[in-house]
Structures are given as C-alpha cells and as structure tokens.
Symmetry: C2
Subunit: 298 residues, 2 copies
C-alpha cells in the first residue's frame, strides 16, 4: 500500500460522501473547484450551498507534495526532506438549527526520510441537545474504534475533548467525537491495519450524519432558534480561527485560503455577553459543552 | 504625569466619546459592565446595540496591574517585574453599509523596572469606497500627527498598512489609518509631549467618525448592500481572530473574553469563493484594499 493508493481511497470516499449528501439534501448538488498548488499537487474542493438540508458545506480532497515546510522540520528536529500529504476534510452547516454541524478530517503524511503518520478526527456540534443523537454518535464511534483496537475509543475520545475545546470560552465546541494524530504502525497494528482503521472512520461518516439529519430535519423552528444557531456558529468561527491547528497551519503556510475557510459558517452572530435564559433549551445545550462526559451512559 | 493621570485621561475620553456617539446615534444608549481582574485592576466595558446608526459597538476602558506576563518578560529578556497597563479600545459597527466600521485603541504600559511605552492606532474599514471620506480621514490624521512630529504620519500610516493586513487574503482590512507601538520619550519629544500626541489622536476620533457617519448615514441600501456588508464583516472577524496581536494576546493570557471580543460584528457571513462582479461598487471597494496608497492624493 503506497501513498497513491491512500490518496485514491480518500478520493473515492469524497465521491461517495458527496453523492450521499446530495441524496440526503434532496435539492442542491456539489460544485467542484480543482486547484493546483504552486509547490506541487493540488485538490478538488466541493461545496454545496443553500440546499434543502445543508445551508453551506464543503467536502474537500487534496494531495500535495514538495519540500517539507521549515516549521515541521524544526518541530521534529529533522534535516531537509520532501513530503507528501493527502486527506479529506468535511464541514456541513445545516439549515435547521435542530440538525447539528458535523466535521471530519482524515489525513496521511509521509516524508522521503521514511517518517509517516495518519491523523484524523470527527466531531459533532449540535445547536440543541439531543441525548439520543449524542449516544448514537458515540456508540457508533466506540464500536468502529473497538473493532481495531480496544483502547482507541477512550484514548481518541479524550483527545477530541481536549482538541475541540474553546479555551477562552471554557467550553467544548460541541459533543466531541474522536481525534488522533501521528498514528503509525505499532505493537498491535501494521500500517495496513492502521489504514483499515482510518478507512472505517471514513465510512462511518455518512451513516452517522444521515441519522443526525433524519431524526431532526423536520423539526419546526423560528426566529429564536435561528438566532441561537447564529450565535453558536460564532463560537464555531472562534474555534476554527483561534484554536484549530489545521486552519492556523494552512493560513500560515500559504495554503488555499478558500478551501481552508470553507469550514466557516453562513450567517454567524456575536452579541455582547449573551446568556441564555435559565431553563431554556439554549441554556440546556450550554450545560453539555464540557469535557469528560461519558456519552455512552447519559 | 503619572500612570493614574494617564488612566483618568483615558476614562474621561471614554465618557466623552460615549456621550457623543449616543448623540450621533440618536436612539440607543451605552450599557456599562464594570469588571475586576483577579490579578489586579479591572475595567468599564460599554456597549451599544441595535441603535439607529450603530448596530453594535463597544467603547472599553481598562486599567490592570500585577505580575508582568511571562511572555512579555521573555520577549524583552527581563527579570520579574510588576506591570501597569491602561487603555481605551473602540470598535463601532454601523447599521448602514455605506457607513464604515471604525476602530481605535490607545494604551499605556509601564513596569516597575522603569520601562514604559505608549501604543495605539485608529483605522477605518468601509464596506463601500468613498474617496472624500478616505481623504478626510487621512488628512485629519496627517494634520494631527504633524503638529507633534513631522514624520509621525508617514511612519505610522505605513505601520498601519502593515498591521491591518489580512495576509491570507492578501488584502488590507480597510483604508488603513495609523498604528504605533513602544513609543516613549525620544530626541524630539519628552514623555509629556508623547502623551500629548496620544491625547490628540484620542480627541480626533469623534470628529472623524461624525463626518464618516453624517456623510453616509442617509444613503439608501437594500439586500444586496447588506449581503456585502456581512461578507466584509467576515473579513473583519478573520483579521481580528487570526492576525490581531492584541486579541491573540488577550485570549492567550486569560483576558476578559467578552471585552476582547466586543470587536466582533453582528451578522457576518462566509460564502465560498465569493467574487464581486467586475464594474460593481463591491468590486471597486476590493480594488482599494491595498497597502501603500497615498490617500492624501487620490
């Protein structure tokens, strides 16, 4: 299994997720932008907007290569080497505030010096709390992880709690999920088996989001719910622009801005010191934005 | 002139600017939040929202003190010392897209080791280009600066071009203004004279914004202009959260989040790869988002 095979698998995943999300949306189709990276490689950005279910979403694939950025070499204390990086990155912002935002990223990185790793994550950001959804999502992840390694769910669920954390708000972005990085062959799994784990996470994306959409998309909402959705989207922007390492790295290293920032929502709002009324559903949601919740047992 | 005198001057400036902005708005008043900093000091945050002219605005004063943050000591290569910092920070987001966003920040910092400096800046972000406004604003700054030092306008105008720059978009935030930092007594000006310069910039704020508001506030606008305003506000968010050193420093050092982020707009929007139509006023605005324009001679 070489880097090209990994890249084509990510590309196929992009195709199948786009096809499925279009079916789920029932109205709009993705539009594709192909782009090239001056230093080597390029990508296929696909966006959907103003659909029936999805207000704004992106499903991006890229495979880029060239001289390894100084920042990475310095961090790893390594001499010059070329790199190859490929991955898929997804963010979907729904129309209906009762449907959560979903994000997934899967990536593979290797250098000519033999170093390689996989990384990735998937997390869900509801605007309104739905305990069945939270349980379903985490159970799905737990089962998927455990098929590959008995401690991956616990370990990567904790990592997601720490990663998807808005430090300056002292709250998590949503109900977490899993996050992993620099994952390579180890005492239990070969490189092929690690890739099989990454693939399984990729294949979990659609059945998970399908359930989150179908169980909420017909719920009625009005001005009040849309206002709250816009405020929560503001927090999503804060996380992505202030804390997300992928976004920061991309913007710092002259990545393709429009592809990196496709994660940003339509219509986000900031209201000074907004506090939802105690006892409201908005207040309830806020109470769940905490680390270390065992979602399997709520 | 000691630190308390500088702080009270900033406080008086806050009072007078708030009173004037309320008159200009003609509808809403500022609401005040007083807050204390656990390490020492505190502030008065004042916000106005959903006014006749101002959709969202903040005029914040603070005076904080305590142990100097490690980050600053390390950067200056200094042993432990206490600090005192006071300043005023303003961002006003107007309702009418033809009225520009304005920002000003003035600050004084000193340490128990005798080190001190003033810093500040004022910049304007129009959604639509108005050459008379741009000229008026820069002329006002040029005259104010030149009363104190013949090269301050050129030097600090260039600094603003570099500072208020959205690197990942390769565009300036707006039509610039002035920016200065670590300004202390020098071969030409005593500490008192530097403070007199800072005061003069502070006093320039209101007459400048009054002109920018009055010359535009009655212009008619519709959905199209509001959509563009929301997109430009998105860029404002990108600058503040990704590049603004003050915001980053505040969020990193556990500043008061709601006061730091009062600068963020109501209703910002992100549309994938939006390009205004050539020949449109939106396209014209975008052409002016460049460094090194001599606004006195446009």
């Amino acid at each position: 299994m070489n880097k090209e095979e990994i890249a084509s698998w990510f590309q196929e995943l992009q195709d199948s997720i786009c096809k499925n999300v279009e079916k789920l949306d029932g109205d709009k189709e993705f539009k594709e932008d192909r782009w090239e990276r001056p230093g080597g490689g390029g990508g296929r950005s696909r966006v959907i907007a103003e659909g029936n279910v999805i207000e704004k979403g992106g499903v991006n694939f890229s495979a880029v290569f060239g001289a390894t950025p100084e920042k990475i070499l310095k961090k790893l204390n390594l001499p010059k080497a070329d790199f190859y990086a490929t991955g898929i990155s997804i963010v979907l912002h729904p129309q209906n505030p009762y449907v959560p935002i979903i994000h997934m990223n899967l990536r593979y990185f290797e250098m000519t010096n033999g170093i390689y790793w996989f990384g990735g994550g998937i997390d869900v950001t509801p605007h309104y709390f739905n305990p069945e959804n939270a349980k379903y999502f985490h159970q799905y992840l737990q089962q998927t992880c455990t098929r590959h390694h008995h401690d991956y769910y616990d370990k990567y669920k904790k990592w997601a709690d720490d990663y998807f954390y808005i430090k300056h708000r002292q709250e998590t972005r949503g109900i977490g999920g899993i996050f992993f990085d620099q994952l390579k062959e180890n005492e239990k799994l070969s490189k092929e088996e690690v890739f099989a784990f990454v693939k399984d996470i990729g294949l979990a994306f659609y059945p998970i989001y399908q359930e989150l959409v179908n169980s909420n998309k017909d719920k009625k909402y009005g001005e009040n719910e849309l206002k709250w959705q816009a405020l929560r989207r503001g927090r999503y922007v804060e996380f992505n622009l202030v804390w997300d390492r992928g976004t920061k790295f991309g913007l710092d290293t002259n990545g393709r801005t429009e592809s990196i920032l496709m994660s940003l929502p339509p219509m986000a709002n900031w209201v000074y010191n907004h506090q939802p009324r105690e006892g409201s559903s908005e207040h309830e949601m806020q109470q769940w934005l905490k680390k270390d919740i065992n979602w399997l047992k709520i």
